[in-house]
Symmetry: C2
Subunit: 320 residues, 2 copies
């Protein structure tokens, strides 16, 4: 049984593999794409999703999921809208009761409005934690100093995971608020689209700071209503991740918003993109969640309307 | 008696003049530099401090301070370390008791550790408010949509100022926390130096997000200890201003930090600079304020030590 395995060969799964294998730890990464697996195993590179980074030799890929379901700690990086079916697949592989899962994706399921932890609990009985924070994949993979939050209701589990996953360049901050961690991680992608729209419209940093501030308030309101803790908003998974995602074109969500602000349509922007822009699905989930919770969230509603081409991008300036 | 006048012909004073005069309102701006006054009056440009912006014709400059001390609302933009002597000069000019002042600078006096409001109250008996928020001068002057906070213990005064100063591109948010507004506005310049150091060292957005998050925590702790309100941290003058200043080389403080991170010395960077980098003086004040309040602020201390060349810039990475 391996110590650590990773499910999902996108940029984030690969970056986690790179940092965790950086000290020589043997890591197995499951990817469903044959060319990703071959690329990692033959040339120590993920040419599809993380082409600029040379990966450690102790990171091995496999397209056989059973090679990754037998580990003490299993990291899950599958995009949120495919998370339920991924777990269904995993549950068929006799996962040991001793295996703990680390949920590393960010989103809210469109149909059910479930958080990833809800989906996990419906699918498996294993212990789990939520990993979330300001982490551009390429920077994590190139061992640039990074702080990340790890949330679990079981603090002993969180301590164990921290011991196993900490690296010189990866500093892990523990909290026990799985709701807040997930709400912050999911909704910040929507706010990032808003900040991107401002940039795309050609407006400046002042306008973006105003939208950012309003976005933080709306995340805080959803968080409170969902039972998350206010202090989680100020952790790496809260404020830290929000500033990262809203500040740079390296963020897929910010870049998506930027293109919207330049009057491109959602379909036009997403066409041919392999990587998932989580904020697109999440903006829909957030609107429906707000309805359910009877919350009025003008910014999230505006962003969703712009994503769905129901409102012109420049309308967002009315919220500055 | 004019409706609005401005003391200080730097970038910020000029930008405020530009936006307030943008609807045709007559504004008088006092600048002590003869070439600034001539440049504004002869060619509608402040070629020294805001050279890219064509100013409205209704903005007039004067090097006679008495032309600016006779107004209903007087905006003060003098740098913080010269604020006391500026007020001493103003107080000699028979200011009407009806005049209200709007304090627009950000800092903590080195010698006394006084906030700008303390210095004001020691100098004049007039009513006043604090204007603070995410406002790059050039963007305000070019009428890009901007949100700003206005704090006053007297909410009726704040309402009146909002009515007089609101413009299509300038949205004013009122609060009654003059302490919190000033602490946020001053200390964020120190955090911005820290974020700039990270960039200067060649480190990435993940590291910067971690320093930003830690910086927010330290501002919050000073704010609480000084009697500011926690909710002010989330206003444009709090989070909004912090993200602006920490995100862009347009910020003098961020740029200063960036140069420090590239191993330039404080004196080398500041040499020949006309514009004041407020965070340099404030980093010293914050350290002494922390001592007085018995607060341990590892990030602010680290930044001050790097500014004073007592610590190497790369040491900041130990705080990620």
């Amino acid at each position: 049984m391996n110590e650590i395995s990773i499910i999902g060969g996108g940029a984030w799964g690969t970056a986690l593999g790179a940092v965790l294998a950086s000290d020589g730890t043997q890591i197995v990464l499951y990817a469903r794409e044959k060319d990703v697996v071959d690329s990692i195993n033959l040339s120590n590179i993920n040419k599809v999703f993380l082409p600029k980074i040379v990966l450690p030799k102790s990171l091995k890929a496999s397209d056989d999921i059973s090679s990754a379901t037998k580990a003490k700690y299993i990291l899950l990086t599958t995009p949120s809208q495919f998370f339920r079916s991924q777990l269904r697949q995993i549950s068929k592989h006799n996962v040991s009761d001793d295996s703990a899962f680390i949920i590393c994706n960010k989103g809210i399921e469109n149909e059910s409005l479930d958080l990833m932890s809800d989906i996990f609990e419906e699918s498996l009985d294993n212990p789990y934690a939520i990993l979330s924070g300001p982490t551009f994949a390429e920077e994590v993979a190139s061992l640039s100093a990074t702080s990340i939050s790890l949330a679990s209701k079981n603090l002993l589990l969180a301590e164990n995971i921290r011991t196993v996953m900490s690296r010189k360049s990866l500093s892990i901050h523990i909290n026990n608020d799985i709701i807040g961690s997930q709400i912050c991680g999911a909704v910040k992608n929507v706010v990032a689209i808003g900040c991107g729209i401002i940039r795309g419209l050609g407006h400046g940093e002042n306008s973006k700071a105003a939208i950012f501030t309003r976005g933080f308030h709306e995340i805080m309101r959803i968080n409170t209503e969902m039972g998350g803790k206010p202090e989680t908003m100020l952790e790496p998974c809260g404020l830290g991740d929000l500033i990262l995602t809203c500040s740079s074109e390296k963020s897929r969500n910010f870049s998506f918003g930027l293109a919207l602000g330049q009057n491109k349509s959602k379909d036009e922007i997403l066409q041919g993109k392999l990587a998932v822009v989580e904020g697109v699905a999440t903006s829909k989930s957030v609107i429906n969640l707000a309805k359910k919770l009877k919350l009025h969230l003008p910014l999230c509603e505006m962003i969703n309307n712009i994503v769905e081409a129901k409102t012109k991008p420049e309308e967002i300036l009315t919220l500055v």
